[in-house]
């Protein structure tokens, strides 16, 4: 495996004149630079001087080719020599994460986002690493909404969290922003939908990557949401979970909720069909307690079925059933086929479900 590969899915080559850049991915923004065989070998992590500052780059000594890494608007990602040195060491340890990675905390949002996204996709980074992400955005957004929900409260600043926290947790900032949007635009349906989804996701999602201070802030918001009778019960469950995000005790002992990560980008060089194949996020302590810490999961579409496979499952794991998270989902037993656990679920919708629900079968 190559040591130094793009962090971002977009790169631009430095043209022969040395001071201008080519098009995104040489004219193909739809491709993912991280998956290109071009980067499998022979590249070095560098900083490239561009318009008076250093930007994140990769160079190939064999022919002098240099590409710079780009953010979501195609702008080269600014950095510094010291950060590049540190990043070089992080990449040499990949996918292990040296403690000194915290030294990147002051780097640009784009650098931190792309670093953690690739680390999450290719390894099992410790929870503490995700402190690099801009949690202050979450804290400010939570504070604005919490104050607005108080009797006579008014909305504070509008905070756009966007995609910046998704390497750590997906399904958190989206419904929070929806709740904010509903309150801000005076649309109670949108606000209610955001609140309900936020509480449901906080009940189901692994929370251990959320820093403690942010969990506390979320706890205050959840308490406020629990003032509404329809949310009271779930808010009480979530409040308990937020106190200890690493809790190994499932909130619903019968259900193990697994987020589906539909991935064109499973690993470097992966050339799978883009929308019909995904991995399962089995990182939560609840799942590890049942399936073992090395378990891996995949799901893909085959005609009108979803094929769910689990591998590296602890031999002592109990019998399981699985269903999609849809309201009318059919529950199917997971059968053991050699070293693989497999289930086939009926599925005639496009794409993939957002989550699967595993349950221990009581004999």
């Amino acid at each position: 495996m190559a040591v130094h590969r793009p962090l971002s899915s977009w790169v631009a080559r430095v043209l022969p004149n040395g001071h201008s850049l080519g098009d995104v991915n040489d004219g193909d923004p739809r491709t993912d630079a991280r998956t290109l065989n071009l980067f499998l070998d022979g590249w070095e992590r560098t900083a490239f001087p561009w318009t008076g500052r250093a930007v994140l780059a990769l160079s190939r000594p064999a022919d002098g080719l240099t590409v710079v890494e780009l953010d979501e608007y195609g702008t080269p990602i600014a950095t510094g020599e010291a950060a590049v040195d540190l990043l070089r060491r992080v990449e040499e340890a990949w996918p292990a994460v040296p403690d000194e990675v915290s030294g990147l905390a002051r780097e640009s949002l784009a650098l931190r986002y792309w670093l953690l996204e690739r680390l999450d996709a290719e390894g099992s980074p410790p929870d503490a690493v995700f402190a690099l992400l801009p949690w202050e955005l979450l804290d400010r957004a939570v504070a604005a909404v919490t104050i607005a929900l108080e009797p006579g409260g008014r909305l504070g600043e509008l905070v756009e969290i966007r995609h910046w926290l998704t390497p750590a947790v997906r399904g958190l900032s989206g419904p929070l922003e929806q709740l904010d949007h509903g309150l801000r635009t005076g649309d109670p349906d949108i606000a209610r939908q955001g609140a309900t989804t936020l509480l449901t996701n906080l009940r189901d999602l692994p929370l251990s990557r959320i820093p403690e201070s942010s969990r506390r802030a979320l706890g205050a918001l959840v308490e406020r949401l629990g003032d509404v009778p329809e949310h009271r019960e779930i808010a009480a469950v979530v409040s308990g979970r937020l106190v200890d995000g690493t809790s190994a005790v499932p909130d619903d002992a019968a259900a193990l909720v697994v987020m589906v990560v539909p991935a064109s980008y499973l690993a470097p060089g992966d050339n799978e069909e883009e929308t019909d194949r995904a991995k399962l996020d089995l990182n939560s302590p609840e799942l590890a307690a049942v399936l073992g810490p090395r378990a891996q999961g995949r799901v893909f579409r085959s005609g009108t079925e979803l094929v769910v496979t689990l591998s590296r499952v602890d031999p002592a794991a109990p019998a399981l059933s699985v269903a999609t998270g849809e309201p009318d989902a059919v529950v199917v037993p997971v059968s053991v086929e050699g070293r693989t656990h497999r289930a086939r679920l009926p599925w005639d919708r496009p794409g993939l479900p957002e989550r699967l629900v595993f349950r221990v079968v009581t004999r």
């Binding site: 977009w10 080559r13 098009d23 995104v24 991915n25 040489d26 004219g27 193909d28 923004p29 491709t31 630079a33 290109l36 071009l38 953010d71 979501e72 608007y73 195609g74 702008t75 990602i77 600014a78 640009s108 949002l109 784009a110 996204e117 999450d120 996709a121 756009e160 969290i161 966007r162 995609h163 926290l165 998704t166 390497p167 997906r170 399904g171 900032s173 989206g174 922003e177 929806q178 904010d180 949007h181 509903g182 635009t185 649309d187 949108i190 939908q193 955001g194 990560v261 539909p262 991935a263 064109s264 980008y265 050339n271 883009e274 929308t275 005639d348 919708r349 496009p350 794409g351 479900p353």
Partner: protein, 358 residues
């Protein structure tokens, strides 16, 4: 002139369009500059281009007014820039088209389903127009089931930064603000994707406009069609008016008249973009081989007009992108080789090199 004078259902707002007059100068299009790192793009990043700005190396620092209030709004609002016969009520194409498009837009479980309607509503409220474009229109018109459509391409009169703003607000209202909205500065395509992935769900580009040393979008459908690969891919669909737009005048005929005609439209000279057209031609030809008669003659004539050394400047990354696109075509390599062998040069050698020993 307000939109409502020509279309009673239109927004009362008339946005600025290419062809309007501002301070006695003609509006020539709209460019875009990326925001400061970490900031989200919005309408402040759009740049207004007037007559003469095509001579500049970079877009001038001139913002785009949000309406045509201070302008002379003489440009026709698309599709009024097309001859009337190129804006076809969907019922004249096929009585089921409107229902099938609605089925696609409202498809339960589809990733776009929650936010495409709010997005279209936001575009409508601004006075702008946005249409389904490209593959989704081609597929629906040719009878592909909605479940087989993977993503939605869109086009419209909305400048780039303003579209990012509208998309983000629609995502926010539907709990999907975690979906990254990206802009490729080299072609001003906006991508909405699933977090953590590079898979696009919606791809939007303003109407293509050439003649500038930097990327620009405009407001004329006929010019936009000249930037599409094939006529059957240049069709657009107005969801609100249930109208099929055929800016080239050949799209519906080439797709629906019993013979699928591969009529290239693109005027690009970029070797990679031309190579993409050849790979896509193979994809469609093999996909449709069993369901329709194909007329590849226009493609052959187009290829024969190309220089033999066209692919010499393709980069390593270009070739890998093309090989990946080729590998995704759901037809065995032997069938691909047989198709390649029917093409004149330089198309044949390109495909043979991409297929290799697969």
């Amino acid at each position: 002139m307000s939109n409502r004078e020509t279309d009673p259902r239109a927004s009362s707002v008339r946005p600025l369009l290419e062809g309007d007059m501002v301070d006695d100068r003609r509006v020539n299009g709209f460019a875009w500059r990326a925001p400061a790192p970490g900031q989200r793009s919005n309408h402040h990043d759009d740049r207004l281009l007037l007559d003469g700005d095509e001579l500049l190396d970079a877009p001038p620092d001139r913002r785009v007014p949000q309406s045509a209030e201070a302008a002379v709004p003489i440009a026709p609002m698309p599709p009024a820039d097309l001859p009337p016969e190129r804006a076809i009520s969907s019922g004249f194409v096929d009585a089921t088209v409107a229902n099938r498009v609605a089925g696609l837009i409202n498809l339960p479980g589809a990733v776009w389903q929650p936010f495409i309607r709010p997005l279209l509503a936001a575009v409508h409220a601004s006075g702008h127009k946005a249409w389904l474009a490209g593959g989704a229109v081609r597929d629906v018109l040719s009878g592909v089931p909605a479940e087989k459509v993977n993503d939605l391409d869109m086009s419209g009169t909305v400048p780039t930064g303003r579209f990012v703003d509208m998309a983000y607000q629609a995502l926010r209202a539907t709990g999907r603000s975690e979906y990254p909205v990206r802009v490729s500065p080299s072609n001003l395509i906006c991508y909405v994707s699933v977090p953590g992935l590079n898979t696009r769900l919606i791809e939007y580009r303003g109407l293509s406009r050439s003649g500038f040393p930097y990327p620009v979008v405009g407001s004329r459908l006929a010019e936009d069609a000249r930037h599409r690969d094939f006529a059957f891919n240049s069709l657009l669909y107005d969801v609100l008016d249930e109208t099929v737009l055929d800016p080239s005048g050949h799209g519906t005929g080439d797709l629906l008249n019993g013979v699928r005609r591969f009529r290239p439209l693109t005027g690009t000279t970029d070797p990679f973009e031309l190579a993409e057209v050849v790979v896509r031609a193979m994809k469609f030809a093999l996909r449709w081989a069993d369901e329709a008669r194909l007329d590849l003659e226009p493609l052959h004539r187009w290829l024969a007009s190309m220089p033999d050394d066209l692919w010499a400047s393709l980069t390593e990354m270009n070739r890998e992108s093309l090989r990946k696109a080729r590998a995704k075509i759901p037809a065995p390599p032997d069938a691909q080789r047989r198709f390649a062998a029917t093409l004149p040069e330089p198309g044949r050698s390109l495909l043979e090199s991409l297929i290799g020993g697969a």
